[in-house]
Structure formats: structure tokens, C-alpha cells
């Protein structure tokens, strides 16, 4: 979903980005508590991203389809960083699983 949001922002499709921001917020809100134990050091980073998404959602809701150039860049950065954190998590989990498998 973060990837999808990134694509919408990049393409300037702000109304779709608005919907995806809300979806991503809900998804993170559900995922973080249930994966807390795996997130460890990334937990605070993801919590910060949740705050970012809240501010994005509020910002997008009040100003129809207008974003200043710097706001657009920030939105790309925020979604990009979420992708990075999640990708890092997936990579770490995969190597843990693979490591576990080879150890057996």
C-alpha cells in the first residue's frame, strides 16, 4: 500500500493519495501492535511515520488538491521512508527465517 501511495503522489493524483494515506494509516495501526516484537528498533521510526501520516491526512483534507512543491517532496519522502522501513523489516525477517532454516 505504501508503494501504491508513493505512485499516486509521484503522479500528482492527490485525491487517490488522500484515500491511500487513510488506508495506510489504518493498516499500520493494525500491524504495529501485532508485530511489535519483531519491530524492535524500528518501532519508534514507524510511530514517527504514523504521526507523519496523520499530519499528511489532515493537510490533504483541508487543502483540496493543492500541494506546495516542498509539501509534495515531503510527502514523497515520508512514503519512501515507510517503504524503506518495511523493506528492511521484510529483509531482516527473511534472513532470520533463512538463517533458521539453514541452522536446522
Amino acid at each position: 500500500m505504501a508503494k501504491e501511495l508513493y505512485g499516486y503522489v509521484e503522479a500528482g493524483r492527490i485525491s487517490e493519495a488522500r484515500i491511500r494515506t487513510t488506508d495506510l494509516r489504518s493498516e499500520l495501526a493494525l500491524a504495529i501492535p501485532s508485530h511489535k516484537v519483531f519491530l524492535r528498533g524500528d518501532l519508534n521510526q514507524l510511530r514517527e511515520k504514523q504521526i507523519d501520516l496523520k499530519l499528511v491526512a489532515d493537510g490533504l483534507n483541508q487543502e483540496t488538491d493543492f500541494l506546495s512543491p516542498s509539501e509534495k517532496i515531503r510527502l514523497l519522502e515520508i512514503t519512501g521512508e515507510i517503504l524503506e522501513v518495511l523493506a528492511g523489516q521484510t529483509g531482516e525477517l527473511r534472513s532470520n527465517v533463512e538463517g533458521g532454516m539453514t541452522n536446522e
Binding site: 495501526a29 519508534n44 510511530r47 504521526i51 506546495s68 516542498s70 509539501e71 515531503r74 510527502l75
Partner: protein, 158 residues
Amino acid sequence: MNEQPQSPANRGKLGPPPQSSSPRKGGIGPPPRPPVPPAERSLRLIGQLLAKTKEGKLPWTTGFEDGQFKTMLPDGELAFVIQVKGEVRKFLMLDGRQEVILDETVPFSETVADNINYGDDKREKLYEAIGELQEIARSQALQVDDKLARAEKILAAI
């Protein structure tokens, strides 16, 4: 619709009102403390945030909108957002679920009106305090001092 003007002391949104406490069971306890007006509580919080920021104990980062900065307390559960947008200044506190616990939105016009209508300068003080904190948060988040020093160094070397 005739909307009564809200008294300055009650402006600023706090989260849900505190639950009324259950009736005391016998004994004489201290009388309940009167609630602190939101503007005063916000001023106190901004004062603490200013002090900790000046001590370098609170890292600020850019928010999404222009002129918006945020910081998370070390517990990772509570966050503050500060914003200056034209003549409107905002101070928010969010909890771990990004629920708004405190929302102070202070337009400049409101501070003038409060001064004239009620002789109350709390909103004006709050407006100024938000501006002061936003300036320090901005300077820290954008590493203004470092960048200015670097520019001076580069210019001197040309």
C-alpha cells in the same frame, strides 16, 4: 444561528473531558483541584518544550505542511506539533494512536479581539509562545546554525 462567543479561558480544545470522579466514600479528603484552563496548560507545556529544546534534549523534525515541525517524547507515545501558517499558529499534542489530545489554533485576529473584548492577554501570550517555539524547532530541524556557519566558511574561502 446566534453563537455565543466562547470565553477566552475555555478556548483551545482538550481531548475528552475528564470523567467525573466517583463520590467519595467517607472521610475528609482535599477538595478537588479546579481544572487548569487549556490556554494556561498549553503555555506551561510550551515553556517546558522550549526549555528542553534549548538544552538540546528534544529533537524536532519537519512535519508535512510548510512551517510545521514535530517532536516525539522519548517514550514514543506522545508527540507535539507546532505550526506557523500566515497569521494562524497551531500547537497540537497527539497520543500513540494519533488522537488529538490538545489542539490550540490561535489566529492573530483572535488575540486582538480577546484583548479588546475581555482585556485578556492569554491568547496573545500563547500566540507569541507558539511563534517562539516554532522558530527554535525550525532552526533545530533544518540545522540553520550549522548551514549558516558552513555558508560563511565557504564564502570566506572563495
